[in-house]
């Protein structure tokens, strides 16, 4: 009985393969086997299924092409019976950064408004899960808004920050070793600040216009922004939605008699103006 157990144990020993615990994606790897005689080697993993006739007791060479996808693999050696071993293929060196920056357009001086996520990938499109230092740099013109080194956790490195004070292009750069990925965010003027109007009588009515419309950081609001003028007089109320052109919104409104003029843009109100009758 004891002899039978020993024989069985010896037969099992003959079909074993000693796999490394971890293999780097895309690297040619040898899998040593034990035993003697002919056997069959199977490799099964993400996107891979391989079968080879092997000489037991020698190394089984597996081409790196068959180990490109990161994940759990199984190496199986069969003779009379089969022996299964498991190992992991991990991503190779990061050569690419998938970099998502949000939003594409942001008002100036908005707190925690700009965020970015960088995900390193190797040349086989495997996500690199080992900790990597990603450098984030945000520059608006010649001004640096942020320079931060972030260690990727589980393949993700991210930042969140306040937008700059000047409207224009905000360049966002993520760097990992020699891999550089660049994105751009358009910083736009925020809500109008200190909205002021002036007006005068014309033969037709009242010509009213704003001072250059700027936000609280001094940026001129973009052309096309709507400014609403409201005139209230004895003939009722008149309103006009006028777009800003070259920083100024202007309107000619037919109106007789004394008028009270107010102005608003979005939810921001401006000053009030009183113009007497003709």
């Amino acid at each position: 009985m004891f002899a039978l157990v020993l024989v069985t144990a010896a037969m099992c020993e003959a079909q074993k393969t000693n796999v490394p615990a971890m293999v780097t994606a895309g690297v040619d790897t040898n899998f040593p086997t034990t035993g003697s005689g002919k056997g069959t080697f199977y490799l099964s993993g993400p996107g891979v299924a391989l079968k080879k006739e092997v000489e037991l007791g020698t190394d089984v060479a597996v081409n790196g092409r068959d180990l490109q996808n990161a994940g759990a693999y199984e190496a199986i050696v069969c003779a009379d019976t089969c022996h299964t071993s498991q190992f992991y293929v991990v991503a190779a060196k990061a050569v690419k950064l998938a970099f998502l920056v949000h939003p594409s357009r942001v008002p100036v001086a908005a707190s925690d408004a700009v965020s970015g996520v960088a995900l390193p990938f190797d040349k086989f499109e495997n996500m690199v899960l080992t900790p990597q230092e990603v450098d984030f740099r945000l520059t608006a013109g010649s001004t640096s808004l942020l320079a931060r080194s972030v260690s990727a956790q589980n393949g993700v490195a991210w930042f969140r920050t306040t937008s700059g004070k000047n409207a224009g292009k905000l360049q966002v750069v993520a760097t990992l070793h020699d891999v550089v990925s660049t994105r751009a965010v358009q910083e736009v003027a925020s809500d109008p600040c200190n909205l002021r109007i002036k007006g005068e009588r014309t033969p037709k009515g009242i010509e009213v216009e704003t001072d250059p419309v700027r936000d609280c950081s001094g940026n001129v609001l973009p052309d096309g922004t709507i400014v609403t003028f409201s005139l209230t007089g004895s003939n009722g109320k008149s309103t006009i939605d006028a777009p800003i052109k070259q920083g100024i919104a202007r309107a000619d409104i037919p109106a007789k008699g004394p008028q009270t003029i107010s102005v608003a843009s979005g939810v921001v109100m401006g000053n009030e103006l009183h113009i007497g009758g003709q």
């Binding site: 998938a98 109008p192 922004t225 709507i226 309103t239 006009i240 309107a251 109106a255």
Partner: protein, 378 residues
């Protein structure tokens, strides 16, 4: 003997046709084509003001312009071309796509020589039925009554060059082979700035205002979901045309979502959802809204009147007015809208009127009007 029955039937038919053509059985109130002569060319003798007015409206309904014009008083002072164009509509206006569905005439004042009638006109239009009220004056000429059609003087806009320096936003969509996260453009940032739910005789109405906070134009839709005490959805509706869908940067629009036949008492919660997409848009035409006044019309309805003034050089085919009404605290208490039947010509103006329900008219302290516009050629 065998000819008696057919002869009787023929005679009875002729008598009934004769009675019908003579207008027997007409009530004092005429209602569209349901009364009067249904056969072209056969109209009752206009020996009463009601018949005269009815004849003219019937011919207009049938688009028999020459016959309608012939039935007018010679003192009308309107030439046939103007008469036809004002009634039929032109320049791609809403009226030019409309048909007179029915009319309802009511006497206001009548003597042996003159009469005034008020007519409720019901038009079928691409934006739904539109009701109009119009007053007519009639005079007696011999044995007949004639409609006096007033001449409408349209301000003559001098020939001029209006510089086209309008602002426009165009969109360039990226190619499909883009790197992930590289070239996406965010949807415009829009926000609901106020919301009010009221119970009306017709059901629940959700209304308020929304603003485009972004620097790019947005196509905006507001949806509302009514939820009961158990968290179940009662109904879901969108603002449809009770909103200015294309919002330019920092523009504010009223919105109204109607839930007919749903009482607010059943509603525990209202879920609001505003959706915005980036669209190409133009900052022109700029339309001013002048002489806005809240008044009570002849029928006792609270109405906001005003004039639209097209400050641009392009025709606005179908102007659409949306007004929000506020109480003393600045809360939106009602949103009304109305289409203007005539096109708004360059540098021209057209009157508009939108009605407010009697129940909220007393609360209204202030109002804000926005003009939506539909143009055949942009």
């Amino acid at each position: 003997m065998k000819f008696i029955l057919p002869i009787t039937l023929v005679v009875a038919t002729v008598v009934l046709m004769g009675l019908g053509l003579m207008g027997y059985g007409q009530s004092r109130t005429a209602l569209g084509i349901a009364e009067g002569s249904a056969l072209p060319g056969l109209t009752p003798n206009p020996d009463t003001p009601d018949k005269a007015l009815h004849n003219v409206l019937l011919e207009l309904q049938r688009r028999n312009w020459d016959r309608a014009y012939a039935d007018l008083s010679k003192t009308s002072g309107v030439d046939e071309q103007d008469f036809i164009e004002r009634w039929r509509g032109m320049n791609g206006s809403l009226r030019s796509f409309s048909n007179l569905e029915s009319f309802d005439t009511r006497p206001m004042h009548e003597t042996s020589e003159e009469a005034d009638y008020r007519v409720h006109l019901l038009w079928s239009t691409p934006v739904g039925p539109v009701q109009d009220v119009r007053d007519f004056h009639l005079t007696r000429v011999g044995n007949e009554w004639k409609v006096v059609w007033p001449k409408v003087t349209i301000p003559n806009v001098p020939a001029q060059v209006v510089p086209v320096n309008y602002l426009r936003w165009d969109l360039v969509t990226g190619t499909s082979g883009e790197e992930w996260g590289a070239h996406n453009i965010d949807a415009p940032h829009v926000r609901i700035i106020s919301m009010n739910a009221v119970n009306t005789a017709e059901g629940t109405v959700i209304m308020g205002e929304a603003v485009n906070e972004d620097t790019v134009p947005a196509f905006v839709t507001v949806n509302a979901t009514l939820v009961d005490g158990s968290g179940n959805t009662i109904d879901e509706e969108s603002s449809f045309d009770k909103i200015d869908h294309v919002l330019l940067p920092k523009q504010v629009t009223p919105y109204r979502v109607d839930f007919p036949s749903t009482s607010l008492n059943k509603v525990k919660n209202v879920r609001m959802d505003i959706k915005a997409t980036l669209v190409p848009a133009s900052a022109d035409p700029v339309i001013g809204v002048t002489n806005q006044k809240l008044e009570t019309d002849a029928q006792g309805h609270a109405v906001l009147h005003g004039d639209l003034l097209n400050e641009s050089g392009q025709t606005v085919n179908i102007p659409h007015v949306i007004a929000s009404f506020y109480d003393n605290n600045g809360k939106v208490v009602w949103v009304s809208d109305g289409y203007v039947e005539r096109a708004l010509l360059p540098q021209g103006s057209e009157a508009f009127a939108v009605e407010i329900p009697k129940s909220v008219a007393g609360e209204v302290h202030n109002f804000h009007v926005v003009v939506n516009q539909y143009s055949l050629k942009s």
